[in-house]
Symmetry: C2
DNA sequence: TAATTATATTTGTCATGACAAATATATAAA
DNA sequence: TTTATATATTTGTCATGACAAATATAATTA
């Protein structure tokens, strides 16, 4: 039987890279006394771009399930970074809005994200980065298709 | 201020790819009625290659902390897939050994891992895969250095 | 209209990741 | 030798991810 070799496996290196990048981001957030997680930032990021998204819409763009997005939103609301409003037309739906405080924090978080990108990608030139994104998009497409 | 654009961010695509790949692997495990997680497999994988590793050694190679490795090992032991033996020379240390049952399962898991690789990397040729691994290794190196 | 089905969100449970604190044993220093 | 320090592992807590079940409201069908 053919055994996988992790030291050569793309999948494995993606997994480890993801963990390490998250750890770096965590550390930077911590060093800046920002009490928020990368996942929570993700939600802030999208709301800052298009305010009023629903939990469901956010779930799709963040590739998380409803349950997690729901809980992350609860925490952000509790922290005063977003507000939840029930949709009048469809009362099942919640729309989420970023608060002023959320916007301020979001700007700081962009700085942190930028820093962690610089750290992670040091020594990898622009062209190589673009190719990485292209191939990773392909991976996401492939896996998405399989899971449908 | 310069804001990040997630649709172009390498970091972001690594994170999403990692989640999606794990989900695919999970599904394949499930479809094959294999009651194990990708992380647990990771430990089995290493023990199958070099039996008798300690929790600490495993932590290093799997990029997890001692706490998680400890708990993952507990579950594997409970499932009869590995056994833990205290080191005679240094009684703080536990050495882990894969059982026959663990070896059998490990072979099946290699099949599943192979399947999920094929799914994730469809349409990406061998050369591109090698470049991906090379660049991801660089990311791991960079982040590792920063976290030291 | 009443019953059924679909959709949006929430809650519960378990595994994992981060991190701090606790425990046990080794090693080094006074 | 006693004390202090370092190392290996475990346990506790909280956030997140997967997944199933529950709840509320809409939309569809009989």
């Amino acid at each position: 039987m053919n055994k996988i070799t992790l030291t050569k496996s793309v999948n494995h290196h993606i997994a480890i890279s993801a963990i390490m990048i998250k750890r770096v981001f965590f550390k930077i957030l911590n060093d800046n006394n920002l009490d928020i997680t990368p996942e929570q930032w993700n939600v802030l990021y999208y709301l800052d771009k298009s305010d009023g998204m629903t939990i469901g819409e956010l779930s799709k763009v963040t590739y998380k399930d409803f349950a997690n997005t729901s809980r992350i939103s609860q925490k952000l609301e509790l922290a005063g970074l977003i507000s939840k409003k029930r949709d009048e037309a469809d009362k099942r739906v919640f729309k989420l809005f970023i608060t002023e405080e959320g916007k301020l924090l979001n700007d700081q978080l962009h700085e942190c994200a930028s820093k962690s990108t610089n750290i992670a990608l040091e020594g990898i030139d622009e062209q190589a980065r673009e190719i990485m994104v292209k191939n990773l998009k392909q991976v996401i497409l492939n896996t998405d298709k399989f899971l449908k």
